[in-house]
């Protein structure tokens, strides 16, 4: 009875229930809260500790460790020990150690790529998220209409999303190969992977192709909770389509839209597989995640930990900006005052 599905809206109206129901409710409350609830939390907390808390703490701890190596003075092999902020200075202040002396990182080394990879990551993020939001919004508006073949549209939109990213990368790699179909269709002879701008364009196109459906579906979900009578009322008042879009659709879809943009942004900031497979990070397409993996592969686990901690902080700050300053409400329900302010 109480477990039967009920929509959130219906539940919130708090209709006066019969006395028998109320009695049952309070009884149920006693039974489910307290000890039983905490018993149910424990396994989750243990799992979260093992798979999230421990690795994060271990990585942060490692980022403050020195590399093991030979001691200059004694010639003995010494274990690492505490390094202070050396690993962070290595990335942020571009300090490399060459023969025991701290020098600015020479160009070409992984350390020297830090700032350019930050730039690349943000460039990809801004470009893909802007395009995906715009195209995704258009797709969602079309998908929300009723017409014959809507099922086909919604199914085909899911295709790019369902293909694994690695396969997507290879797919576009073939399309944008020098002899590939893209060059033939457009009659161009561009070596797409040969220089920075074409390589970046290809990665952005592939990412937009892959992730726009995700945006479109999230925005579509937001569009569908807008009641239709609002539009009907506006139509009766003789409001133009553009005004309807700006003054009804946008404000009402804003919460869902912002959550979608937030998710996509955080996702794009840790982009790894597309650039890694398509260009291997060549021609200024090295993102932060690629740099982390390259650093691990060259054996510098401590500085790689520092770099991944920096990446984590960067993503965290971006999320903070979204939630604090742009008012994205990913966790709680939107307040009425917030809605009123949104024009």
């Amino acid at each position: 009875m109480s477990t039967e599905p009920q929509s959130g809206a219906a539940a919130k109206t708090d209709q006066p229930s019969s006395r028998k129901d109320e009695k049952e409710v309070s009884h149920r409350k006693e039974a489910t809260q307290g000890r039983a609830a905490s018993m149910l939390i424990v396994p989750s907390i243990i799992v979260l500790t093992i798979v999230i808390v421990y690795p994060v703490i271990a990585a942060v701890f490692q980022s403050f460790q020195k590399d093991a190596g030979l001691d200059k003075a004694t010639g003995l092999f010494v274990a690492g020990g505490f390094a202070g902020l050396a690993n962070y200075k290595h990335w942020i202040l571009q300090q490399c150690t060459a023969g025991g002396v701290t020098v600015p990182c020479p160009p070409g080394t992984l350390g020297a790529q830090f700032w350019s990879s930050i730039g690349t990551t943000f460039f990809f993020t801004v470009a893909t998220v802007v395009l995906e939001t715009a195209i995704g919004f258009g797709m969602a508006v079309i998908m929300a209409r009723t017409f014959r073949g809507r099922g086909l549209l919604r199914a085909s939109v899911l295709v790019p999303w369902a293909i694994p990213t690695a396969v997507t990368a290879k797919l576009w790699f073939f399309i944008f190969a020098f002899e590939g179909i893209a060059n033939k269709i457009f009659g161009t002879t561009i070596l797409w992977s040969g220089s920075a701008n074409p390589a970046r364009a290809v990665i952005i196109i592939a990412d937009v192709w892959k992730t726009t459906p995700f945006m479109a579906l999230l925005i579509l979900a937001g569009l569908q909770i807008i009641p239709g009578d609002v539009y009907e009322a506006a139509k009766v008042d003789g409001v133009t389509a553009w005004q309807r879009f700006v003054h009804i659709t946008l404000p009402l879809v804003k919460p869902a839209l912002m959550v979608a943009i937030l998710f996509r942004t955080l996702d794009a900031l840790r982009m790894y597989d597309l650039p890694q497979i398509m260009t291997g990070g060549a021609n200024n397409t090295t993102t932060l995640s690629i740099l982390v993996v390259q650093e691990i592969r060259s054996g510098n686990f401590n500085s790689a930990s520092a770099l991944s901690t920096i990446t984590f902080i960067v993503i965290f700050l971006v999320a903070l900006i979204f939630v604090k300053f742009l008012g994205v409400n990913a966790v709680e329900t939107t307040t009425v005052s917030g809605k009123g302010k949104a024009k």
Partner: protein
Amino acid sequence: MTTATATQDTKPDTHVKTKARNRKRWESARTYVFAALIVFWCLLPAYWMVVTAFRDVGFTYDSTPFFSHVTLDNFRAAFSTDTGNHLTRALINSLIVGVITTVISLLFGILRRMRWHALTSAPSTWSWGSSWPPRCSPAWRW
């Protein structure tokens, strides 16, 4: 007299009606055009992948827009272990990992959902899976 006024009244009326009908037709035509664009944009690259998959290696970069030089060699090559690829093994591995992680996360997820409802809502609002799949409504909770 009366007939005259009647025709005068009906004329603009039908005019408005046809105008509205035309606009509606125009709108739905636009919808179909955009829908077709979206379908092509989403499916063409995937279609091209399938076409290339069935094409003889010598003609990988052939630009024929439909199936040509059809062969199953690529699939045979993909599944053969001669070159050190073990696709069958990899598929089985994916299956094992997928099943086990799903079962484990489902197990703990169910426990957590129970916790959520027990702590955050009166039992009268118990609704299993109400927030899954994520509808991304403003009320969406993690």
